[in-house]
C-alpha cells in the first residue's frame, strides 16, 4: 500500500491533538474562571486560558472534520 492510499492524514492527527488540548485547556480555564484555580498571572482577568482553549477546540474540530478518514475514502 502506498502512502497516498492511506486514509489517514497528518492533518487529522493534528486535529485530534488540538481537540484534546482544547478540551484540557478549556477545562482548566473554566476551573480558573470559577475561582478555584490560582490566578497569580498578569492580566488574569482576561481569562486567556479559556479563550485559547476554545480556539484550539475550534481549530482541532475543523481539521478533524476536513480530514476525517471517512471523508477521504
Amino acid at each position: 500500500m502506498s502512502f497516498h492510499d492511506s486514509k489517514y492524514s497528518i492533518w487529522f492527527f493534528t486535529g485530534i491533538l488540538l481537540l484534546i488540548y482544547g478540551v484540557l485547556i478549556t477545562g482548566a480555564g473554566i476551573y480558573n474562571y470559577s475561582g478555584y484555580g490560582s490566578r497569580d498571572i498578569v492580566l488574569s482577568e482576561l481569562h486567556i486560558d479559556l479563550w485559547w482553549g476554545l480556539l484550539l477546540l475550534v481549530i482541532g474540530a475543523i481539521y478533524c472534520w476536513f480530514y476525517l478518514p471517512a471523508r477521504r475514502k
Binding site: Y8, F13, I48
Partner: protein, 570 residues
C-alpha cells in the same frame, strides 16, 4: 509511575512549576509523536521511502517541515534572549538572514537539486564534481551534525533544569529515545510529519505571549514608550538605522556585515546547502511543489519574529527587573537573558497554557534533533557507507543501515551531550567548526550549479581551501585577538560580527580558488552536466501554469512583504 509523577510535579528548583493538567498536555504530546512513528512504520520499506519520504510530500508539508527543522527550542529561546539584549536587530536573522536565501533556493537552485534526482547535497557534489568533493562534504556534515545535535540536547536539558527543575539525565534520555524511536520506525516521513505537528504546536504554544504582552504594554507604541522609559539612551526598536557604525548598536556590527556576511554568505550557505533543511524539500512530490515549499517556509519565517523577537522586546518593556548575562545571573542569583521566554511564559500563562508553552519548547527541540539524525542517517548511508564501504548491497540492506544509523546518531549525540557537560568549552569550538563548512560549501555548490566551466578539481580545491582559510582565520584571532581588526574590519567587532566577516572571506577564497583551478584544469564535457548545471539543463516551462499557481508569483509576494517589514521597522 508515581515517583516519576511526583518528581515532575515537585520541580524542586525551577523557574516554573507545572500542574497535573500541564503534565497531561506534555504526556499526550509524547504519546502522539510515538503513535505517528508506529503508524508510518510499514510505509518506510524502500530507500526512497525511508530517506526521502517517498518523494511524495505536498508543498505545504515539505514547506512547514523545512521551516520546522530549523525552529529548534534553542533557536526560540536564544533569539528571544538576543532580542532582549540587542533589540530588534536580532530580527535580521529571520529576515535578511533567511528570506532572500529561501527564495533563491526555491527559484534558482531547487530545479538542479530536484532534476538531478540527488538524495543529498553531498550526492549532488558527487554528480557535479566527483567523489573527492562528496567525501569531504559528507564526512564534515555527518561529523558536525551529530556533534551539534548533542550540544543542542545538552543545552535543552540545561534549560529544562533551570526552567522546570527537571533532572538533566531525565530530559536527555526521554526526549532523545522518543526521537530515535519515531525516526527509526518511519524514517524521513515520520520526521517530517512530526515536524508539521511540532510547527503547529510551536505557533499555538508561543503565540499567547506576544498577544497578551501587547495588550499589557498598550500595543506597539506603548511597548516602545515603555522601553525608552526603562532603557534611556538605547535604541532597541530600529532594525537598520543604528547599523551605520560598529559602535552605534549593542551588537557591535556594521550593515556591511549584516548584508554581506549574514544576508549573503551565511544565510545562503545555510538555507541552500545545509542538508538538514534541503532534505525536507527534496521529499516534495514534483518540481513545482519543491519550488513552492521554500516559499511557503519563507512566508512563515518572516512572521517568526512575532513569537520570538517580540517576547524579548516585551521583556524589556514589562519585566519589573533587569536580566543580565549568565555569569552575573549566577553570581547574583538573578535571571539571565536566556530566561526571558520562560519568564514571559510564566507571566501570562496559567495551568494548561503553561503546559502548551512548555510542549512548544520540547517540540522545537525534538523537531531540530529529528532533522539532525534523519539527515545524518541519509548522508552516512548513501554518501559514506554505500559510496566507500559497501557499494553493491540491496535496498533493504541500506534501509536497515539507515535505521541503525538513526539510533547510532542519537547515541553519539547523547555521548556528546555528556562530553559537553564535562568540558563546556567544547561547545564554543564545535559551533565554530560547524560554521567553517557552511560558507565554502555554498561557494562550491553555487559555482557548480551556475558555471559550467567549474571543474571537479576546481570544486574540490575550492571547498578545501575555503574551509582551511576559515579555520586559519578563527585560529589567528584566538591566538592574537588584535587580528580581529583585519578579519572583522574593526577592533570593536563582537563575536557575531567576526563570524559574519570570516564567513565572507572564506567564501571569497573558495570562489577564487575554484575559478583559478578550474581554468587550469580540464572541464567535464557538457553531456555530463545535463540536469546539473545552468545552461546544460532544460528547466520545465511554467508558461502554461496560471499566474496564481506559479512559484515566481508567490516568491514576489513574499519579497514585497519582506521589503515592507524592513521599511516599517527601519
Amino acid at each position: 509511575m508515581p515517583s516519576l509523577l511526583s518528581f515532575l510535579l515537585v520541580a524542586p528548583s525551577g523557574l516554573i512549576s507545572l500542574g497535573a493538567v500541564d503534565l497531561a498536555v506534555i504526556a499526550i504530546y509524547f504519546v502522539v509523536v510515538l503513535a505517528i512513528g508506529f503508524w508510518l512504520k510499514n510505509q518506510a520499506r524502500t530507500g526512497d521511502d525511508f530517506f526521502l519520504a517517498g518523494r511524495e510530500m505536498t508543498a505545504w508539508i515539505a514547506g512547514l517541515s523545512f521551516l520546522s527543522a530549523n525552529l529548534g527550542s534553542l533557536e526560540l529561546m536564544g533569539w528571544a534572549a538576543a532580542a532582549y539584549q540587542y533589540g530588534i536587530i536580532a530580527s535580521h536573522w529571520y529576515w535578511i538572514g533567511a528570506i532572500p536565501a529561501m527564495l533563491f533556493l526555491a527559484l534558482v537552485m531547487m530545479p538542479f537539486y530536484y532534476i538531478s534526482k540527488t538524495h543529498s547535497v553531498p550526492g549532488y557534489l558527487q554528480l557535479r564534481f566527483g567523489e573527492d568533493s562528496r567525501a569531504l562534504s559528507a564526512v564534515s556534515f555527518g561529523f558536525m551534525t551529530v556533534l551539534m545535535s548533542g550540544i543542542n540536547m545538552y543545552s535543552m536539558a540545561l534549560v529544562m533544569k533551570v526552567v522546570l527543575g527537571w533532572d538533566i539525565n531525565f530530559s536527555i534520555w526521554v526526549s532523545s529515545i522518543t526521537v530515535a524511536i519515531y525516526v527509526a520506525l518511519g524514517g524521513l516521513r515520520s520526521a517530517i510529519f512530526n515536524e508539521v505537528l511540532q510547527f503547529m504546536l510551536i505557533w499555538l504554544g508561543a503565540l499567547v505571549i506576544p498577544i497578551v504582552g501587547l495588550l499589557e504594554a498598550g500595543g506597539w507604541d506603548g511597548m516602545v514608550a515603555r522601553i525608552q522609559q526603562n532603557w534611556p539612551g538605547g535604541d532597541y526598536t530600529h532594525a537598520w538605522s543604528t547599523l551605520g557604525s560598529f559602535t552605534a548598536n549593542p551588537m557591535g556590527i556594521h550593515w556591511t556585515g549584516i548584508v554581506l556576511g549574514l544576508g549573503w554568505v551565511i544565510s545562503f550557505g545555510y538555507w541552500t546547502t545545509d542538508f538538514l533543511v534541503v532534505q525536507r524539500v527534496l521529499s516534495a512530490k514534483d518540481l513545482r511543489a519543491a519550488k513552492m515549499a521554500p516559499i511557503i517556509g519563507a512566508s512563515f519565517k518572516m512572521m517568526v519574529p512575532f513569537i520570538v523577537i517580540l517576547p524579548g522586546l516585551l521583556g524589556l518593556a514589562v519585566l519589573p527587573f533587569k536580566l543580565t548575562g549568565e555569569d552575573v545571573a549566577v553570581a547574583t542569583g538573578g535571571h539571565s537573558y536566556n530566561e526571558v521566554l520562560p519568564l514571559m511564559l510564566a507571566r501570562y500563562c496559567g495551568p494548561g497554557l503553561m503546559g502548551l508553552g512548555i510542549t512548544a519548547l520540547i517540540a522545537g527541540f525534538m523537531s531540530g534533533m529529528a532533522g539532525n539524525v534523519s539527515a545524518f542517517a541519509t548522508v552516512w548511508t548513501y554518501d559514506i557507507y554505500r559510496a566507500f564501504m559497501k557499494k553493491d548491497a540491496d535496498d533493504r540492506h541500506y534501509v536497515a543501515m539507515g535505521r541503525w544509523c538513526t539510533i547510532l546518531g542519537v547515541l553519539v549525540s547523547i555521548g556528546t551531550a555528556y562530553l559537553v557537560m564535562q568540558f563546556k568549552s567544547i561547545m564554543d569550538y564545535v559551533q565554530a567548526l560547524f560554521s567553517f563548512f557552511i560558507a565554502p560549501l555554498f561557494g562550491t555548490v553555487l559555482l557548480g550549479m551556475l558555471w559550467k566551466r567549474a571543474t571537479p578539481k576546481g570544486g574540490f580545491w575550492g571547498l578545501l581551501t575555503g574551509t582551511g582559510a576559515s579555520i586559519a582565520m578563527w585560529a589567528w584571532v584566538k591566538a592574537d585577538p588584535s587580528a580581529l581588526r583585519y578579519i572583522a574590519l574593526s577592533p570593536n567587532a563582537k563575536d557575531m560580527a567576526e563570524n559574519m566577516y570570516r564567513a565572507l572571506w572564506s567564501w571569497i577564497v573558495c570562489v577564487l580558488v575554484t575559478v583559478v583551478v578550474s581554468y587550469l584544469s580540464k572541464p567535464k564535457p557538457e553531456s555530463e552536466l545535463v540536469g546539473l548545471v545552468y545552461g546544460c539543463t532544460e528547466i520545465p516551462s511554467e508558461a502554461h501554469v496560471p499566474l496564481m499557481q506559479r512559484p515566481v508569483f508567490w516568491a514576489a509576494a513574499v519579497a514585497v512583504v519582506f521589503l515592507i517589514l524592513q521599511i516599517r521597522f527601519w
